[in-house]
Point group: C2
């Protein structure tokens, strides 16, 4: 008996040889993580072979196209025995092998397989129907049993059972440090300025720009929030899979009707409508670059979501069905941050990751009111106290405000103290959970203000929230902050360049003021990036799950 391990897409059974069999140690009828692991891999067949009347293939009860077999894991039943089964004195029928029960999903399937004699092969194609989730650990067990008839009135006797265990590929997110493939933005009747900036940045960076037009987006510009790109991987096949948020704004149809297709999968989790809130938008779902934390390696990074404060009894949270799904994928062990202090409540409002040549290969960028105040105080000291934030932006409905006035505003200072505490609280969690040092973090000068929402005071960015950027390789598309002009240049832009250019990054400031910032979002909220998958194979992770 022989089971080809993870390295290939094929699973072989040899059902018997000279009527004896043995278990190889490598196999063990189980699944084991890591480079010395074993077991097979299958994909959830969530793409659609046909792009016309499409729906995920797993919902079809027929094979629409031979190419669909490539999304399944080939399982070979290989017999290696005598031409005919020897006749026991009591044998009245031919022997037969019976395959299989699939555990872990709701259905238990069983099929009888005739013994084909001598050296024969029967091909099976194993199709994944669902991702790991609460109540399904992603493991599928297939048993093959050989029975021998004994005589009338006596059940057939089990000769042996062979077992193969497959694990469904997790859905894997792609951090900012991976190379982009395609950038997605919406076109609306008021975002020309923004689109111009994005078009130029993406073209300059050498990637594809896909524009979702108004007939499809119906005015919903928050491309980040409706969906998250990820991928599934197996030794024989790999394809991108979009996770559709239960947010379901006017962009609701985009992931299904525009993205699902041949070798482009689709998955979603539905929640009760009344449970869905702004924290369910996927600006609140990010992923770190690969990290090692106290000796534990996360070669695919860690998912980051935002929720209510740990002791809160009433706060807003990401809906449980999505949290369950994310945790069940296991390979990017999620971290829950406190984001409910923000009006919109998304983690991308206060953090981002950019690639870096040194240290851990990246930096964590954090919004920092303290850094903002430090900068403004320096400007005042240097004699630029009368330089104005939003200089000349009356046209944008924002009254210009001199640096001196910002620094005098004690309420604003108190509000930003609070915001800084909230970000610091998350900074501690991120340092601990991602194994970061202070040197891995860059504080960006960003102020917030508190506004009342649902009888609670929550934060919004005071000027364009520069941490909410798009990362395209070394090129960053940063919300144009409209800060005080110092020596004919925006002092906030200057500061950003000073902080980020030494890492080999290029800063492009994109004007999203009226079409995004004033609607409480920025560049990152209004865009999405599909990236190349990791080279690292998820089944090589060393998981020690508790």
């Amino acid at each position: 008996m022989f089971l080809k391990s993870i390295t290939g897409g094929n699973i072989f059974f040899v059902i018997f040889q000279n009527w004896s069999y043995c278990f190889l140690n490598i196999f063990q009828g189980s699944w084991k993580w890591g480079p010395d692991g074993h077991g097979a891999v299958l994909l959830v067949n969530c793409d659609s072979e046909t792009s016309k009347w499409k729906r995920p293939d797993l919902q079809q009860n027929y094979i629409s196209n031979e190419s669909d077999l490539k999304d399944m894991t080939k399982m070979v039943l290989r017999t290696n025995g005598p031409t005919e089964l020897p006749e026991d004195p009591h044998t009245v029928e031919r022997g037969r092998a019976s395959v299989s029960k699939v555990e872990g999903c709701a259905r238990a399937l069983s099929q009888e397989v005739l013994y084909l004699g001598k050296e024969a092969e029967t091909n099976f194609y194993v199709e994944g129907l669902q991702f790991a989730d609460k109540g399904f650990d992603g493991l599928i067990t297939i048993n093959l049993s050989l029975f021998e008839p004994i005589g009338p009135g006596i059940p057939e006797r089990p000769i042996f059972t062979d077992t193969v265990v497959l694990r469904v590929s997790p859905w894997i997110m792609t951090p900012n440090t991976l190379n982009p493939i395609e950038v997605y933005v919406c076109s609306t009747d008021d975002n020309n300025q923004f689109l111009r900036g994005m078009r130029s940045l993406v073209a300059r960076s050498g990637y594809r720009l896909k524009i979702c037009h108004e007939y499809m987006n119906r005015g919903d510009r928050w491309m980040q929030d409706e969906m998250e790109f990820g991928f599934v991987d197996s030794p024989h096949k790999q394809f991108p899979v979009v996770l559709d948020s239960p947010r379901d704004g006017c962009l609701v149809d985009f992931p299904y009707y525009e993205l699902l297709g041949p070798d482009f999968g689709y998955v979603t989790r539905e929640a009760h409508k009344r449970e869905v809130n702004t924290l369910d938008s996927f600006g609140n779902l990010e992923v770190s670059p690969p990290v090692t934390v106290r000796g534990k390696s996360y070669p695919l990074g860690r998912i980051i979501i935002g929720v209510a404060f740990p002791i809160a009894t009433q706060g807003r949270n990401m809906t449980q069905v999505v949290q369950d799904f994310l945790w069940a994928q296991k390979v990017q062990d999620p971290i829950a941050l406190f984001s409910d202090w923000l009006c919109v409540g998304h983690v991308d409002e206060f953090l981002s990751f950019v690639p870096a040549r040194d240290r851990k290969g990246f930096r964590l960028l954090l919004a920092s009111p303290d850094a903002g105040y430090k900068l403004f105080r320096r400007l005042q000291k240097e004699g630029y106290g009368q330089s104005e934030l939003f200089d000349g932006q009356y046209v944008l409905n924002e009254k210009p405000i001199p640096v001196d006035e910002i620094l005098e505003d004690e309420v604003l200072r108190d509000q930003n103290n609070y915001v800084q505490s909230c970000i610091d609280w998350n900074r501690d969690v991120l340092k601990r959970e991602l194994g970061l040092d202070e040197g891995d973090i860059i504080d960006l000068p960003i102020l917030f203000k508190l506004v009342e929402i649902d009888q609670a005071m929550r934060a919004v960015a005071y000027y364009p929230d520069m941490v909410n950027m798009i990362v395209l390789g070394k090129n960053l598309g940063i919300p144009k902050p409209f800060g005080p002009i110092v020596k004919r240049r925006c002092a906030l832009e200057t500061e950003m360049c000073n902080l980020l250019e030494p890492l080999g990054l290029n800063c492009t400031f994109i004007d999203d003021f009226t079409s995004y910032h004033q609607l409480q979002g920025e560049v990152h909220c209004g865009s999405n990036v599909r990236r190349e998958p990791f080279d690292f194979k998820w089944w090589n992770m060393v998981l020690d799950e508790i």
Copy 2:
């Protein structure tokens, strides 16, 4: 900040010290298995402090007795700071610490704790309300956060959060190799003979015998089937816990009304009545002695249950709620055997474990028709072909049968071939899953016959099923087989003694023929043993769960 680890029952928080704090590496706000693990332990408070109007303490919403606090884990909130919190220019109230959210159970609790100033301690008692189960991994997270008021119209700012993770003690079964404490049997109007045998055996072995009388058992003699003894363990407290089977025969009240009490816990899992079948009796729930399997250590042994054949679509299974409970306990990773081939369908009909001084410290005993036939053929060869099984047992409604006649019966031979295949199939699983060699297994000479039940042919023991024994240290209480008399001694008894006495075991044969065997059960089915808990501490297990 300081968290006392597993070694004690106390958990300490120090909420701050000079307004700074740090996380100790040993702590990490997480729970880790193994001798180098960390995290705290709590017990499900499933005993009853009062024995009069009893119900498990966890169902009480008050502390009925100070002794009840001993079943809980003490958590100390220790402040170590200035006498008064320093007044921020904007501080309008005293600081306060807020504890805690309990995750993992349905409720999220939060309580505000006043800052007591300087060095103060507040005691909390953490009570476990449920065992790990499907959907609850047994981990409970308690967060402590310190907030500081900033000013009117601004939320209090979070200074820091400290986290402690506790794991609920699993329910742990006790194998035959552990020392007995108490033996339980039923008294019925027809089992005097059996009771005499048991009373004598238990007295001789030096253990307590507890007899459940007829007013309580209402004729239900299957003491093994209604319940399983286990225990829970923590550094500060340990007590036995009875798992009540959903079988719910006439013995249904016994575990709750006779066993539940101070420091004697009770847990049950309820299933839909129509789902419950004979495989839900706990003769079908056993546990192996400690084993090591391909380098993986199971210092508390492995649970063994019986189910349908893997590819069966219609077979009988142990009900899912009980299986879920058993798997969720994690520390005795269950093995599912094929027991549905038996009429009654219990694993204790074909296997048992006995202590041994050599090898792995135990032997697996298996019923073996092959060993039975081998013995009978030898008897025939030695000239005892006319010796009779059930000799002189006309009185027991069994017609004596000569050895020659048994060996001539081809239908019986075919039926036993089938039975042997079923046991061999399980033998392979047991060897693989318990890491056993052939030398660790002893085959007991036992024949079966097939009878029709629910349109299927299933097996019952042909003569008393000697593997279904009670194990009391070195003393075994074995069903008296009534085999052929050879040299004035039962040849089956002789064979059993030859097989078992070299291990240092003493065989006592107990007549259970009319009162148990003819009702399709034997000594083990009709008894139960509460044993001493393991010395090994479950949290020292090295678990690498997938």
